[in-house]
Amino acid sequence: MPDQSVLPRQFRVVGQRKRRPDGIDKVTGRARFGADMTAPGMLWGLVLRSPHPHARIRSIDTSKAEALPGVKAVVTGRDFEGGERDDVSINCMAGGKALYDGHAVAAVAATSKHAARAALKLIEVDYEVLPHVTDVDAAMQPDAPLLHEDMVTDGLQPPPDRPSNIAARHEIGHGDVETGFAEADEIVELSFKTEATHQGYIEPHACVASVSPDGSADLWVCTQGHFMVRNVCAAMLGLESSQLRVTASEIGGGFGGKTTVFIEPVALALSRKANRPVKMQMTRAEVFRATGPTASSSVDCRVGVTKDGRITAAQAELRYQGGAFAGAGADMGAMAIFTPYDIAHVKAVAWDVVTNRPKLAAYRAPGAPMAAFAAESTLDEAARRIGMDPLELRLKNAAREGTKAAYGPTFPRIGLTACLEAVRDSAHYKAPLGPNQGRGLACGFWFNFGGETCTTVNVNKDGTIGLSVGTPDIGGSRASMCAMAAEEFGVPYEKVRTVIADTASLGYNDVTDGSRVTFSSGLATIQASRQAIKRLCQRAAIMWGIDEEAVVWEDGHAKPASPNAGDFAPLSLAEIAAESANTGGPIAGHHEVNAEGAGVSFGVHLCDLEVDPETGFVKVLRYTAAQDAGKAVNPDYVEGQMQGGSAQGIGWALNEGYVYGEDGKLQNAGFLDYRIPVASDLPMIDAIIVEEPNPGHPYGVRGVGETSIAPPLAAVGNAIRAATGVRLTETPMAPPRILAALDAKVGDPDGRMTGQERDAPGKKARDGLPDDGLP
């Protein structure tokens, strides 16, 4: 809201470390997650998935499965032809082709899991196996297997005359990079690759769908956005929005991965066909094979610096694949890559590529971590070239208020410099290091989002507050909503209860994404509370028989505005609420908004680690994350977001990554070989909250959920470089890769590795990045 002004103020509840209202239920097991719902007469739904990475589906014979006792419905792509058949729909159930290993091709609902499993084996799919491609650079080659006959690259002039796997080209920047590089004393150019990672949420997707013969339907589901689920599923099934009520369960992790649908429309289609409720619950292998991991990337990065540490130019080409459908998020990477710095000449070109992999979903700052890995590793190398402290180099070039970002905006008040100074002044930054240990620094950026939000607050007759929001709580947001409402009303935190209302109970709310909930649901909560307070003042005026303008709200009480207004003892919220039947009925407040002014967020991470030179094993010794929260409504959960993003980023850096075989099949669809960090792998992550108030929020709040995953890849890589002398340019930076790099260093005594040369398909000439045209 551009009209929000940030006044320094004393907060009473906001800023305190309050216990989260959903905590007890979650630690005792009382909380109900996606898989905890059952319904009378419920069937079990299971999905048949393609064993091939790319295959034409000649035919599907379901007759034997349908004849099996206990089987009540079988659906295939045909059952979805009546509704909207866009990428999301085709991803949920294949059409003419299976586009990746794990792509859904049919589903059954049966009276038991056992019968459903048996039925899957009886479905006969006639596949014509096609050549496949899973690597982004390989997919860009002219002779690569083509996924979509009708995919013509968007954003090229003139438009290509033939289809390819390149969905789009984007370019952002300002100035003239060649001019900037001509001013540089040193130019560092490196190429990077990152493998796809998965959010690794512990709760697999699960839902219960029940479609009535009258056409109305209910869906219980773990999701980050039940309104999105309603709209998407209704469109796919040809329902009206009012016919489908979606209730969000508690969520066992999402991190962006539950911002779309997978099994939900399938469960509804099965339920409609069977005329029975249908429960579906993914296995862990299904989660890995057929939900939405990140893009994998291939990035060329070039940075020019003067001897005294001014960045004169920065250029990058980013190639991302996001699975079998357009939308790999390379454009977001290009927009984010050099944004922490004030650089006169910037150019970033992004290529959005499709491959035979599952369609990506969001994962914390989607597109930014791979971009930051490239930019922050290259900058680290540039600092070495000119002999400057890497933090000093960043401080010298840091974006500040008034800096024009290459993606467009001129920044208002931002907190990057404050984060850098906080890290510089930390005990960690000055701590000594031992043998085989190294320290790495990296910055990160995320845009943050506001979006459509609709919130209702009800004043109960006993003086408590009921708050209904439409944004699923994935990081403690109910606690923050309670705090903000309590702050406004002047009642204790414990007197407010926040629920996530279903889709029939509130207007549309965007998905919980873009770090938007504490910002925009918070903003709507504050405004709805203020509306309710206005009404409380009106009711007090009625009770006192004075003008409502003569009543003010202070410390949870209505008071006469001045002695002239009359001599009345203050009325508490509870006293006014108790009388509400006599003063006009229930008291409530409401606010709806398409929130703008989310406020960008920056973070700075510092990582110490030790590398075993004989095995390549990396032990992270110490880790500090500083981030601008604007105003931390609940510091515990802000720190939790910073720590969680750091932990996930460290995992991405060191050991996480999708492994595809030559056969195009995913080889590590489980938590044994998809290695997220376990608790003993990480030190306590120190979180430094920086508070540069966001002018777009009444309390100055900025989103904090995503920025923290952007810096760790480079912070870890830079620390490995410092510890070993070798520059790793590919994730995961797992022990075999580190040991191979260490062995390659033998014979390179000064240890100045400028990146592992790769013969990756799609790589181009090293000197000067070609910036236009197809590779």
Binding site: N668, V678, S680, A740
Partner: protein, 288 residues
């Protein structure tokens, strides 16, 4: 699928021998139940051996220990005499899984699952352990390293199963150790494993050695040449470096999602060298 939980060895043998379809033995279930749930296996019969007393005891025998096939890792870790005598075997067992898994996982299961990466197998082989196999023709003892044929395959006849393991008496001046490499700190599977058992004389000279390697071949590798190279040395740096080189040479690893051939070959030598140093210190009576 039929589930049976017999209470005697003979009854278990009779059940296994009488099943014409796929029959599986259930001890802790930390591998078998996962395989059942994933659909990898659909046995006709599952025989749970945990109600058979002989599979659930650790008994003193001939100066050594007879460990029931269904004894858990946690129980081995709590057995003070066993820990004192064979710390390498016990630490290998205790590396498997989490605290909860340790309450279920068994050495018999780890052996018979026949994973090339099984942690306790190299440690058992280095210690010279044998397995007691019971079957329709009575019982027999087989060296642990001879039981495993290849990934997922063991040399048992229809109706046979492993009832117990035997660890011999720990000789004077003997020490053992097991080390594995994983990219994390726990809850993982060995990318490389190395078990070493050494005997030293009063002058600190090695008189006997066994070196067994995991996850660098289709089955546990007894690196006999590498071990022989230690005999007669004082396990000084040169001897340990020679051990590392000989161990790397004995390994026959593959490239897979967990590690490359080069990585495994190099690291198995590093681990053998480090494990030998630990075993040496233990043999000399140092707590390690």
């Amino acid at each position: 699928m039929r589930y049976e939980a017999p209470e005697t060895l003979d009854a278990a043998v009779a059940l296994l021998a009488g099943e014409s379809g796929v029959a599986k033995v259930l001890a802790g279930g930390t591998d078998l139940l996962v395989q059942l749930r994933s659909g990898m296996l659909e046995p006709a019969l599952v025989v749970d051996i945990k109600r058979i007393p002989e599979t659930r005891r650790i008994d003193a025998e001939a100066g050594g220990f007879r460990i029931g096939a269904a004894v858990t890792g946690a129980e081995m870790g709590e057995h003070e005499e066993l820990v004192a005598a064979w710390p390498g075997v016990v630490e290998a067992m205790e590396l498997i899984g989490s605290t909860q898994i340790q309450g279920r996982a068994t050495p018999g299961g780890n052996l018979c699952n026949a994973s090339p990466a099984a942690d306790c197998v190299p440690a058992l082989a280095a210690a010279g352990a044998t397995a007691r196999i019971v079957g329709p023709d009575g019982s027999r003892e087989l060296a642990v390293e001879d039981l495993v044929e290849g990934p997922g395959k063991i040399r048992l006849k229809r109706g046979e199963f492993v009832a117990s393991l035997f660890l011999p008496e720990r000789a004077a001046g003997q020490g053992d150790a097991y080390l594995r490499f994983i990219p994390r700190t726990e809850m993982d599977i060995a990318v490389v494993g190395a078990g070493v058992c050494l005997t030293l004389d009063g002058d600190g000279r090695c008189t006997a050695a066994r070196v067994a390697l995991g996850a660098v071949g289709p089955r546990v590798i007894l690196a006999e040449e590498a071990a022989a190279g230690l005999v007669g040395t004082t396990l000084d740096e040169a001897a340990l470096e020679a051990l590392a080189a000989a161990t790397s040479a004995a390994a026959t690893p593959i490239d897979d999602k967990r590690g490359t051939t080069d990585f495994r070959r190099k690291v198995v030598g590093v681990l053998a060298r480090r494990a030998a140093a630990v075993a040496r210190d233990r043999a000399q009576g140092e707590k390690a």
